[in-house]
């Protein structure tokens, strides 16, 4: 009964992890979301073509985040999304990141955004840890507007971007 229900459920899960390496993610959700490297993510960030969403908790976001990233903590999604949705339209090119490769919050967030009609979703492979490991810019603060301004300032400075 459980297996039949899972087979016909729109959010049915793969029984074994294979192509989808994280639990709780239906195969079609995994396929719908692009998984991009830190380098590709940085390229999109640099070009300003992507809306960047940080799925981590507020405390970690305030401590350090990708400049210009909007905090949409998975564990406070409903509240946070009410304020974030104007800045992150569903038709935009969206890049999501969380702590690292094993955290899974990015895919969970992508799952919820897909249900809300988002179409161009990308998850940063390796998350914020990969971004930092690559030596890309990070910034402190709890407000995306402030972060964006500072990012713009730092972007205009000599040698601030690769």
């Amino acid at each position: 009964m459980a297996l039949i229900a899972n087979a016909v459920h729109p959010m049915g899960l793969p029984l074994l992890l294979g192509r989808v390496p994280h639990s709780g993610i239906p195969v079609w959700v995994w396929d719908e979301v692009a998984h991009v490297s830190a380098k590709a993510g940085h390229g999109a960030w640099h070009a300003g073509s992507a809306i960047i969403l940080d799925a981590r908790d507020r405390k970690d976001y305030a401590e350090r985040h990708v400049p210009g990233a909007i905090n949409l903590p998975y564990h406070d999604f409903t509240n946070a999304y009410a304020t974030v949705k104007k800045k992150a339209p569903s038709e935009g090119h969206t890049l999501i990141y969380c702590y690292g490769s094993g955290c899974g919050l990015s895919m969970r967030l992508a799952k919820r955004l897909l249900a809300l009609g988002y179409t161009d979703l990308n998850v940063l492979r390796g998350g914020f840890a990969a971004w930092r490991m690559a030596g890309y810019e990070t910034i402190a603060g709890d407000k995306p507007a402030q972060a964006k301004e500072e990012a713009d300032e730092s972007a205009s400075g000599p040698g601030s971007l690769p």
Partner: protein, 163 residues
């Protein structure tokens, strides 16, 4: 000291009490299973947050557990296989206590238990509160199992005696 004789009304009282207890437990397990059946993916996320199961088993667990809860509740309502249903209910309560204990041992004091809702919003519930609630459910299931086995044993004895 001589043992006090058991009043004749006691077995009837026990039998009377058995019905509300098993119906209350059934209600708990139906409430627990409903949202998990509707949102298996979100329940898998909740299970992942407990950090007690290997990743490879989480999906299978998230798919099967709600249906086991529902089947247990159905048996409790129908009053069939009460011993097996009671044992399953006790095992599930115990498993939940172990998971909560593991979270407490890791130093967490709140979490989204996923007991009746798979939503993971806000700060979550107090682990001690959840543990207290689960102890009550576990105690009820243990009593139910004891009564079910006692009834089964007395039924077997009666049939052996040819009554």
């Amino acid at each position: 000291m001589r043992a006090r004789p058991v009043p004749a009304a006691c077995p009837n009282f026990r039998r009377w009490l058995l019905v509300p207890v098993r119906l209350a437990l059934a209600a708990v397990f139906i409430a627990a299973s409903a949202d998990k059946i509707v949102h298996p993916d979100r329940f898998a996320d909740v299970v992942w947050d407990y950090q007690v199961l290997p990743m490879g088993l989480i999906n299978l667990f998230a798919i099967c557990l709600p249906w086991v809860e529902l089947a247990t509740a159905a048996c409790l309502i129908a009053g069939v296989w009460l011993d097996a249903a009671g044992l399953l209910a006790a095992a599930m309560s115990l498993m939940f206590m172990v998971a909560l204990g593991a979270a407490l041992a890791r130093g967490q004091d709140t979490m989204h238990c996923g007991c009746f809702s798979t939503a993971q919003e806000g700060v979550g519930d107090s682990l001690w509160g959840l543990l207290g609630r689960d102890i009550v459910v576990f105690a009820a299931t243990v009593w139910l199992v004891r009564e079910a086995f006692r009834d089964a044993a007395s039924g077997t004895a009666a049939s052996l005696a040819g009554e």
